[in-house]
Symmetry: C2
């Protein structure tokens, strides 16, 4: 069975892009990925569009067709469908593209993730983002994504005697790395003090614990052994791909602060890759809220439950033994939902290819990319690198 | 590489189901499919949720997680993602499940399609359904799905001198078949005269040319050779699966009445299956509007362009050489969008297994299932049957 290679990647700047539309963002990212791969658009076998909210927010469904149309591949008959799994849509779309190539049906698959979140009046975005929770049991009663994260954070901090500094430190690291990423939503460094004193959103979470409302697009070109060889393209191998699941509603889970889907997907990803945790050179984690960054470090097996704070407070910077979120992460690079997971993979690809410039990690061996949907119902883990 | 077998199928009644929620409909269909397959839910490797409108209409995204949660498979870690390609979401989800099994990653995949369209005030459904068109160039200017179909119908009838009777006859056949389907939305037979005289929606289309606003759920269990053999289950083989694409906006297409995506997907499906058109015993076509039924007969190669009216006016009933829409079709069985394509496959499976009771077609050899998204941007064709 063929390996799957990332042979091209591209993204737009993430941010409040008032003058750019959903389709423009998608096309810009897509064309950059095609150019980076050095292929023709007609080489693409299938397009997976990743988008979370456009049906609720931009009044546009059939995002696959929209992307195929405006990137100029529709008339060639190149099929396009949308994959949605809330905030892990991008990672799920990468996985579908991976399976499509592994099935032997396609040699080249494109993944295009996009979200246009600022086309809405003020606080209405809260309602729209709440469509990723359980509508009947959570959001209908006023539950928001931030409120759910806050419940988890409070219980976690209480049970393990964790101070708020550890959460804030995760965001501080994100901002430090984003200051070196020209595509990041926020390029300003922040201090622990700024983060701690920022506006409260849902106690104990401040605004500096919460990823922003971003617009953006990101795209990848995946290819089979055969195609990668035929175009003489040395890409980066997707060493393993894993996905797992837990209940949608937080109250149904075994634990408020162990993300079972992450535990399972992480375990499977390492088993499939046949590598050790110490082989991982960097991780892109899904800190839609800072608390999730800490939980994921634990649930992926890099710290004991309740101990991620030591890990984070110690050192997770670009020069540490295990840098986290070199891109700037969801907090500072930004979180345009459908594009987020694809953007994480764009960063991991750049790092592995030694193209991450100012934020380049020294000689990375393997990179780990992790996304969760909402509060953790779906988790997707990809490990890239190696042979 | 393994063949993919349909080993179980189930669906709810389609209709205006005021007392049933989105999740209830999905679970009911899913449990029926699992029961029909005679498997345990823990045997499922992955769940593909098909849904088109819930983000816009029910304020619920992450339909994959919702379905996994409420069907009781989430806690086992069985991953679930949503596939959306407008009105062809169900067919696209079947194709993703097919690829997932072909990739060797999964032995059993479940496809669950659901839509709850009646949870909205009156005519607002028009706006929601219009999210499947090009928002910026079609629906923003007032274009509706019916209006687009009417433009196509008018041009087609003019250019080929086709009378309205042929369109009406397609719907009459649907209602005749649906009268024998206990799960159909409308079980009343109608006459050509009734259809011709029904309320105008968008000239030349009457209400009897338009599929209704339906609630419903449908589910399939697909399995690899290995799994099907291990449980001693003789399913129905998916002989071929094909998907193709055209522009999203109708005005960008080469022709108003040739659906290029259908031409291409149909051709590929027959090539892959290695069978002749005359081997097809029945077809489930996507008549969201009656005109599309006629165009699809032509674009799949069963009549010359402009000549489907002869084909339809001749005989497409259950006892004809090539029965169309034995289920009752989108017009009379109903069109709960995310469930529609899955429901078409449920019918095809029942027909192949000889379980379609009153509407059973005599000794079917192969069945063809066809879905389009919106006005035809994506087309998906599956041929089932044979070895």
């Amino acid at each position: 069975m063929t390996e799957v290679h990332i042979i091209g990647a591209g993204e737009t700047k993430f941010g409040e892009l008032w003058d750019r539309s959903l389709r423009e963002l998608a096309v810009e990212a897509g064309l950059r990925a095609i150019e980076d791969a050095g292929i023709y658009s007609r080489d693409i076998g299938i397009l997976y569009g990743s988008n979370t909210l456009a049906g609720s927010l931009n009044w546009q469904n059939d995002i696959g067709s929209l992307l195929a149309d405006f990137s100029g591949i529709a008339s060639a008959g190149i099929p396009a469908i949308r994959v949605e799994s809330s905030t892990s849509s991008g990672a799920s779309a990468i996985r579908e593209a991976y399976l499509a190539i592994r099935s032997g049906e396609y040699d080249v698959a494109m993944v295009g993730g996009v979200e246009k979140m600022t086309d809405i009046y003020g606080s209405e975005i809260l309602d729209v983002v709440s469509t990723t929770l359980d509508r009947e049991w959570e959001s209908f009663f006023g539950g928001t994504a931030a409120a759910m994260a806050a419940i988890t954070a409070r219980k976690y901090m209480h049970d393990f005697n964790v101070e708020k500094e550890a959460l804030a430190a995760f965001s501080v690291n994100d901002h430090a790395n984003a200051s070196k990423n020209p595509n990041a939503h926020y390029r300003s460094k922040i201090t622990l003090e700024t983060a701690m004193k920022s506006t409260k959103v849902a106690e104990p979470l401040n605004i500096m614990d919460c990823s922003p409302v971003s617009d953006g697009g990101a795209a990848l070109i995946l290819a089979s052994d055969k195609f990668a060889k035929s175009v003489g393209k040395e890409g980066v191998v997707i060493k393993s791909s894993a996905i797992s699941q837990d209940y949608l509603a937080l109250h149904s889970r075994d634990s408020l602060y162990t993300i079972n889907s992450t535990v399972r997907a992480g375990r499977t990803a390492f088993e499939k890759a046949g590598i050790k945790k110490s082989d991982i050179s960097f991780m892109e984690l899904h800190n839609s809220y800072s608390i999730y960054g800490l939980l994921e470090i634990e649930d992926l097996g890099f710290a004991e439950k309740g101990k991620a704070s030591d890990f984070v407070m110690d050192d997770i910077s670009l020069t540490s033994p295990l840098p986290i979120n070199p891109s700037g992460g969801l907090k500072a690079k930004g979180n345009p939902m459908g594009a987020t997971g694809v953007g994480q993979a764009v960063e991991a690809y750049l790092q592995m290819k030694g193209k991450a410039k100012e934020r380049q990690i020294k000689e990375p061996k393997y990179g780990l990319i992790h996304s969760i949907s909402g509060t953790g119902s779906t988790s997707v883990v990809h490990i890239i690198g190696g042979e």
